[in-house]
Amino acid sequence: MNSYWSDIINGGKSLVVGLGITAREFFKPVVTEQYPWETPTMLPRFRGHIELIGNEETGAPNCVVCGMCQRACPSNCISLDGQKAEGGKGKVLTRYILDFTKCSLCGSCVESCNFNALRFSREYNLASFDKNDFVMDLMKRLEDQNRCKH
């Protein structure tokens, strides 16, 4: 019989304590971030899609078309090619396409590049209606960045 009474008393107490907690939470300030008006700042190591790094003065990409990143990628999203440089030494990058629909952001490409030519960008709002928007031409993106820098 006493479990009947203890249930009622303890139960009632726990219910009232529960209401008290939610009441206290009711008057506390809002925790959520009102997204469109307050945009979040990305952390330095945030992994957006990869982008090319151009050296400061000339703005040309550091990439020497060695193709290490192309081989390292598990889902082969990177396709690049280049041609002989005029001066005859090394290659110049002409085309660098990233198929971001297949990329799993594992970082093998950035890790495998020994010429500091690739890094993660901090793009996070990448919504679009068309799949082809995610097949990105990183060369054009580098040029846009250079243009808006000067």
Partner: protein
């Protein structure tokens, strides 16, 4: 105990719980033969999110499988990274520096707390309480920000490499983690226990529901909180120590009752134990490199290798067979939830539909990990 009351055993109907159902948290389908609201026979049907990770492992090199590990149990992705890194390091004989081991333990334990918090939120959601979800996600967001600071991703981490970790942790991460530990310790007794654990409605809802005996756990191979809720003290971190876990003292919460309440309490205590581990790991964090020397193209020696890791849901095993080539010859992923769910059919007989969902919630299922 739920004594099956079969009023009209001949008039049963088949109810499909899932694959699209709010309580299955993923695409699991359970074919229930019901008599009124009592379950006569329950049979989980799997495969709705099967992606054949084992064939993907055989297709790519060892390093290329690391991102896949995070896509199986996305709630405790770092433990899956850790399991895969461990088995390949065993096979190829790679040494991991001391600091990398400590960073691995800290990030895995943080991820375990995040996984338990999300389980707690989803479990309360199944039982009809909507508010605790927001409080748990508030805390979980702190962990996600901390891990994003060091690994770069929020849910599917690809942070561990054979021989160490991708990049080092900075002081902001350490101070942030210590602040998080104080904050969660402050909130646990009030928000998590007073509002929910001691609530009479919750106690009545999960006490003596879904009783799983220790023998059933052994015969079905259930591990993790499900086994520890039935009185079996089996935790891979203690029974088969790996990495630097022997250096921390933490105890394994074991509850003998075997009902949903016991599994609930096991996970709540595990959050506190993980906080203790992180604190000790931060105090003893050694200096030194974060990445040992590992050959670029791994060709481990032919043989059969196995590594077990304690994830939030149980013991995750990687059965690896190498034939000396640069691709794994055969990888069998022993996922804990696959075995934990296999005992659902036997335990759910004679239960009410509402109890069966409370029982399924207490098993903490992650469907992509079952289907692989």
């Amino acid at each position: 105990m739920n004594v099956p009351v079969h009023l009209r055993p001949d008039e049963t109907f088949v109810l499909n719980l899932g694959p699209q159902h709010p309580a299955t948290h993923g695409v699991l389908r359970v074919k229930l033969t019901m008599d009124g609201e009592y379950i006569v026979q329950a049979e989980p049907v799997l495969g709705y999110i099967h992606r054949m990770h084992e064939k993907l492992a055989e297709a790519g090199t060892f390093a290329q499988f690391m991102p896949n590990t995070a896509r199986m149990d996305y709630l405790h992705a770092l433990a899956f990274n850790h399991g895969w890194a461990l088995v390949v390091e065993k096979a190829a004989g790679i040494e991991v520096p001391e600091r990398a081991e400590y960073i691995r333990v800290i990030t895995v334990e943080l991820n375990r707390i995040a996984s338990h918090l999300l389980w707690w939120a989803a479990f309360l959601l199944d039982l009809g309480g909507f508010t605790p979800l927001l409080y748990a996600f508030d805390d979980r967001e702190q962990i996600i920000d901390l891990l994003e600071r060091v690994t770069g991703s929020r849910l599917t981490y690809c942070y561990m490499r054979f021989g160490g970790v991708y990049n080092d942790i900075d002081d902001e991460f350490i101070t942030g983690t210590r602040a998080f530990i104080q904050r969660l310790r402050g909130r646990l007794p009030r928000i998590y226990h007073d509002l929910v654990t001691h609530n009479i409605i919750l106690i009545k809802r999960i006490k003596d529901i879904g009783f799983v005996s220790a023998e059933q756990c052994r015969r079905y191979g259930a591990t993790g909180p499900v086994a520890r809720g039935s009185g079996i003290s089996y935790d891979v971190r203690k029974n088969e120590p790996y990495s630097v876990y022997p250096e921390f003292d933490f105890d394994i919460p074991v509850f003998p009752e075997g009902d949903s309440m016991a599994r609930y309490m096991v996970r709540m205590h595990e959050i506190e134990q993980s906080l203790r581990i992180i604190e000790q790991a931060l105090d003893k964090l050694p200096g030194g490199p974060v990445m040992g020397k590992a050959p670029k193209m791994l060709k481990p020696e032919a043989g059969y290798y196995y590594s077990a890791v304690e994830t939030a849901r149980g013991s995750l095993g990687h059965r690896l067979v190498c034939d000396g080539g640069k691709n794994p010859y055969k990888l069998k992923l022993r996922s804990p939830t696959f075995s934990n769910l296999s005992l659902f059919g036997e335990v759910a007989e004679g239960m009410l539909l509402a109890d069966a969902l409370a029982f399924m919630g207490s098993l903490d299922l992650v469907i992509p990990e079952i289907d692989r």
